[in-house]
């Protein structure tokens, strides 16, 4: 089975500052996808950003960007100009092509944006 590790259980950042959340994974597959999901207090899981492993270019979505290092099996999320609405739990997820599009999730990082 694939494993996804988020080593930062909790983080905080000042409003308008930049923060980076870490994620590492372990797989023997060469073709896979990586995702970051956000879970605010409402509990709804919201897709933040996704990255295809075969693409060298790092994905970006407005204030959110990733640093994808395939050889190191690292997939960090950078949030720029942090806003109060960014306060949430963030989950890193891995999806390979073996076994029905199964997702493997990390244990999450709780991010608090401080006004």
């Amino acid at each position: 089975a694939q494993t996804v590790t988020q080593s930062q259980p909790e983080m905080s950042v000042q409003e308008a500052e930049t923060v980076t959340l870490s994620c590492t994974y372990d797989t023997s597959e060469s073709n896979y996808y990586l995702f970051w999901y956000k879970q605010p207090p409402s509990r709804q899981m919201i897709l933040v950003i996704r990255q295809e492993a075969y693409k060298q270019q790092n994905a970006t979505e407005n204030r959110f960007s990733v640093n994808f290092q395939k050889a190191a099996k690292s997939f960090s999320l950078k949030i720029s100009d942090s806003q109060l609405g960014d306060t949430a739990m963030y989950f890193c997820a891995f999806m390979g092509r073996v076994g029905g599009n199964q997702f493997y999730f990390g244990t999450g990082t709780s991010l608090t944006v401080i006004p």
């Binding site: 599009n101 199964q102 244990t107």
Partner: protein, 114 residues
């Protein structure tokens, strides 16, 4: 937002009773999944379906069964609920497409087993 609903949204039940959770989608997506979310564990896959009547086990399938008789509905059944099954349950859907097969999640069901 993807059209995914879960029912019930909250349920309290007693140990030993059967419980069925329902996931309904309006997106006609092929894949459907059931996860449970517990503190310190993130989301863990219970079962998934890759078509009508086609299902397979996930990481934590013991004590759970599923059924999918229609594309739009995926049922999760706890035959005899135990306190260890107290959790938040999420349904998700995905489909084969031209790009990454993103999973879209329902709003979750909070289940408490007393």
């Amino acid at each position: 937002d993807a059209g995914i609903t879960q029912s019930p949204r909250h349920k309290v039940t007693e140990t030993g009773t059967p419980v069925t959770l329902r996931c309904h989608q309006t997106e006609n997506h092929r894949y459907m999944y059931w996860y449970r979310q517990d503190p310190g564990h993130g989301l863990r896959l219970i079962h998934y379906s890759y078509g009508v009547k086609d299902t397979d086990k996930g990481e934590v399938s013991d004590g759970y069964s599923v059924s999918r008789s229609k594309t739009e509905d995926f049922l999760l059944t706890l035959e005899s609920a135990t306190s260890s099954q107290t959790s938040v349950y999420f349904c998700a859907i995905s489909d084969w497409g031209g790009g990454p097969d993103t999973q879209y999640f329902g709003p979750g069901t909070r289940l408490t087993v007393l």
